[in-house]
Symmetry: C2
Subunit: 232 residues, 2 copies
């Protein structure tokens, strides 16, 4: 089997891979039992992924096939490798998982971003810092420093917004049930992003979300837990 290539966002250190979207794809590939070569990529290297027709990672190259966007990659893997464990769990799991993707996009990721953006910029390659700061400060209408100010207090609102996760994890070990599915990887990507780039403590140890994250870090021989980052 030709190895699959995944272009992944990296910091100044090439092995610091921290994109929440790339982690979704990494976990999805591991779920399917597929080998992958993760290639470090930086924000300004648009030409290196030009073959995908756009400028963001993850970009997956599988033989002659190029797929970008974490959701598209999950759908591609499910379709291209139907005999491997299902990412969506069968039935209408693919359709039911979309809401997770959109909840992460509108609640979890922006909430987290505000708290850890200041740590992201510190870990970026020199050539990426200006690009990142300008683009994100424009999007959020605030300096990275202002976003992080008082984050020990601000994190309480983020924890509150995680209540639907918490209540679900009180009833079952994973969002997919007894074992993780792509819905778990969607949400976990956000926490792994934070862990890889920031020492800031997001979760209280008594939180069921904390315990779930711990289980996720151990999956696939500790794939996510052994990645370069801060202690969970």
């Amino acid at each position: 089997m030709t190895a699959i290539t995944l272009f992944e966002l990296a910091g100044a250190e090439p092995d610091r891979r921290f994109s929440p979207y790339c982690w979704r794809s990494r976990m999805a590939l591991a779920h399917k039992g597929l080998e992958v070569e993760g290639v470090p990529w930086r924000f300004v290297e648009k030409e290196r992924i030009a073959m995908s027709g756009q400028g963001a990672v993850p970009v997956l190259v599988d033989g002659g096939k190029v797929v970008h966007d974490s959701w598209n990659i999950a759908e591609y893997l499910e379709h291209a490798y139907p005999d491997r464990p299902s990412l969506f769990g069968g039935g209408h799991g693919r359709e039911l998982s979309r809401f997770y993707n959109n909840w992460a996009a509108s609640v979890l990721l922006p909430g987290l971003f505000r708290l850890i953006a200041i740590d992201i910029v510190r870990h970026l390659h020199e050539g990426d810092r200006d690009y990142f700061r300008k683009a994100r400060e424009a999007r959020f209408g605030q300096s990275l420093e202002a976003m992080a100010e008082g984050r020990e207090e601000k994190v309480k609102g983020l924890r509150q917004s995680m209540q639907p996760m918490r209540a679900t994890l009180e009833a079952q070990p994973y969002f997919g049930g007894a074992a993780p599915l792509y819905a778990d990887y969607i949400l976990f990507g956000a926490f792994q992003w934070a862990r890889c780039i920031s020492p800031f403590r997001l979760l209280e140890e008594s939180d069921p979300v904390h315990a779930w994250r711990g289980r996720m870090l151990l999956l696939f021989g500790g794939l996510a837990g052994s990645a370069k980052g801060y202690p969970a």
Copy 2:
């Protein structure tokens, strides 16, 4: 077939059935193609559902079986009527649907409640009004009037919180995909609650959530759309 009985919250008018949880069960029963006799029930009539071992509706009675709590009722129906259309869509749909239940419980229902509680009390049976007002004002730490004050402005925040719904409905007609599943009924229950009890306009007509609600109102021969309430 012995008809199933469903105890449903009713207002002063016995045919004004407005509980979001009861509507979930109503839609689930229709999805399964099961006939049901909806029995009006009021908050203070705890003894009438004492056989369920608790004091809230929906309570479903199917032969000798008594089931309470909308989630439990959905699980019961799925298990007891496996040859009827699946509520969870097969695979791990049941597990994946829990997050919808918890998102509704922590975001959608409390957000909506604050805006329409004042209209609920107006429609309640005289004997229920004191109970309702005291219990809810204690829970929310505010008078019903204070909650509703400025609701034309407050509704904007609620609409913003619906963004994960909106983005999902831009990609597919129902949360279950091409056709509705229990995840749709979970969320729809909230909107039907509002429509049955309050003239307040929640959604803009251009909102994909508005269009989805319109489709939901037409399901099963207009079951929800023809129920006593205000125009959607």
